[in-house]
Amino acid sequence: MNVMYLYAVVAVLLFVIGLHGVIAYSHLLRKIVALNIMGSGTFLLLVSIAYGRPEGGPDPVPHAMVLTGIVVAVSATAFGLALVRRLYSETGKPYLPNGDTEKSGR
């Protein structure tokens, strides 16, 4: 059982590091990488939960959740990266334009 807690703590710390990254950095690629780190933290937590008894096998449901989660994360990342690439090609900057959230869009 102790092993599970070690991984779980690491997982949660990864989550927080990723969260910090999304909020604190303004470069879009960093934000996306940070989101992936958050995801990795969550997945690691799920895998550590699956540990189960030493003699039996691991719990397969969290494994399935992680597989699904990875695919979803990869899809979202791919789309996000394409958006960043396209935005960069239009504006020349890999940052979200500032201050236009409260202004009219047209």
Binding site: F15, I32, A76, L96, R106
Partner: protein
């Protein structure tokens, strides 16, 4: 007739949109409507037939794959789910008709003809239906992501730089929310070993992990529903999307994550969360109503005004949390208890806002098609060219302001009753103030649009497929006030889980 009753319409409510989504992708640009139109009608009919099943037979539970929870995933259809499904179906039907007209002429420009609107929209509809039906926490995560990615892709569909950055902001916010939610799910599974909401409501006991999970999931859903102060992504995204997309985003997608929050707070999270958490959410809700309405008043662009109005109207939804209570769904077979008015009011608010706001955005789309811009100050004379559209805009405005006999009036009146019952005077004031501010920005738009203008430069005509659905939806939002009794009794049918 017996055959119709025994068909599992709940499954078709998800199968139809999924099937027509992939078929419309396979058929390509020219024949996309061959799959799109049957899919829209099939989905609409399935939901209607499902609601008649629920009305007659009570709540349903459907074990997908034949595997009962907790091993498998189950669908649960009760009053709340079916009302949300109906809201999506009715709005979806008319938004789809509108979209046919909207995209009926190829956009100018050198875009390679790959308009993926229909596959994306049908997937979004499937995701929303799946969300309202699902009783499994992880499955809900997948439907949230499905809806989120579809929504972002729809925002950036044909936009320029502004739509791109708005879409990217939306994507980042949506992913952040989804990740937070998933972490909460992981913690709940770790604590109790099940993912099914009904089983969790029986098993869940307060503890540090549960409280953290509740916080994470709530924060994640708050950012997805764009409650103040996490609303920053919504105005640019909804304002800069194509008109039918704005209608579905403001009308439907934000209601999905709100619905989930309602379920989780009442079913799963410990009731000790309600006193403090409820008041905190109430403060945010009040701030959303005031801030959203004031910002709406200050905008110069019509679509931005409508988008900020959404921010404000979302605040009304969250008045559920200070005004209702977790003891709401205790009776078997029926929803009752303290906070019933708040429950009714918020669901009715979701319903009427969906119809009215979709109609408003569709009207804005018509105006932009004709004028070529959406600057309020230069809208003089629009009424002469688009009388039906302006009338529809006015009707939707009536619902937003909360004037009788519209659905918005019923919603706000129920919320006022709930607030008075709990002697929450601050909220009473805010509800009233919100209505006044809404009338301010609606009249601001109407003042310009109804003014006479001597110019007669018609940029384009608006096809009837764009004009008429707008009017129908707006009229429905008005008529919603008359259908309060049957709808509310459908809502109370069946305890939640």
């Amino acid at each position: 007739m017996n055959g119709i009753v025994s068909i599992p319409w709940v499954a078709w409510a998800v199968l139809f949109p999924l099937a027509s989504a992939i078929l419309s992708f396979l058929l390509g640009q020219k024949r996309v409507l061959w799959a799109g139109i049957p899919g829209v009608f099939g989905t609409f009919l399935s939901v209607l037939l499902l609601s008649s099943q629920v009305w007659q037979q009570g709540p349903q539970r459907y074990a997908i794959g034949g595997w009962r929870a907790p091993l498998g995933i189950e669908w649960h259809v009760d009053g709340l789910s079916i009302v949300m499904l109906l809201m999506t179906a009715v709005s979806g039907l008319f938004i789809s008709i509108y979209a046919v007209g909207y995209y009926s002429r190829q956009s100018r420009g050198h875009k390679h003809s790959n308009n993926l609107f229909w596959p994306l929209w049908l997937f979004l509809w499937a995701a929303l239906n799946g969300l309202f039906l699902s009783a499994d926490l992880f499955n809900l995560y997948v439907t949230l992501e499905l809806a989120g990615i579809a929504a972002v892709a729809l925002v950036t569909l044909t936009g320029g730089q502004v739509a791109l950055s708005a879409g990217l902001r939306y994507l980042l916010a949506a992913l952040l929310g989804a990740m937070s939610y998933l972490m909460g799910v992981a913690l709940l599974y770790a604590s109790f070993g099940v993912l099914d909401i009904r089983m969790l409501s029986a098993l869940a006991a307060p503890g540090p992990a549960v409280f953290i999970s509740a916080t994470l999931m709530t924060l994640g859903l708050l950012i997805k529903t764009a409650l103040f102060p996490l609303h920053f992504w919504l105005p640019p995204a909804h304002a800069n999307a194509p008109a039918p997309v704005s209608a579905m985003l403001s009308g439907l997608v934000v209601k999905g994550s709100f619905y989930l929050m309602m379920r989780l707070w009442v079913e799963v999270f410990p009731s000790s969360l309600w006193p403090i958490g409820g008041q905190f959410l109430g403060v945010l809700a009040g701030a959303a109503i005031l801030w959203g309405s004031i910002m709406a008043l200050r905008q110069g662009s019509l679509k931005m005004t409508i988008a900020y109005s959404t921010v404000a109207q979302i605040g009304y939804l969250f008045l559920f949390f200070p005004l209702a209570s977790p003891r709401l769904f205790i009776a078997e077979g029926e929803v009752s208890g303290p906070g019933l008015y708040a429950f009714w009011g918020c669901v009715y608010q979701a319903l009427s806002h969906a119809l009215a706001k979709a109609a408003m955005f569709m009207a804005a789309g018509n105006i932009m098609r004709v004028l070529g811009h959406d600057c309020i100050g230069r809208m003089d004379g629009v009424n002469q060219r688009l009388p039906l559209t302006l009338f529809a805009f006015g009707l939707s405005g009536v619902s937003l302001m909360g004037l009788p006999p519209s659905g918005g009036f019923v919603a706000k009146w129920l919320l006022l009753k709930a607030a008075l019952e709990k002697e929450h005077w601050g909220l009473v004031l805010i509800i009233v103030a919100g209505g006044l501010l809404a009338s301010a920005y609606v009249f601001k738009v109407l003042k310009h649009a109804l003014a006479q203008s001597s110019q007669n430069d018609l940029l384009e005509r608006v096809p009837p497929t764009m004009d008429i659905p707008t009017l129908i939806l707006a009229t429905l939002s008005l008529l919603l006030g008359f259908t309060a009794r049957p709808l509310l009794s459908l809502l109370t049918r069946g305890s939640i889980f």
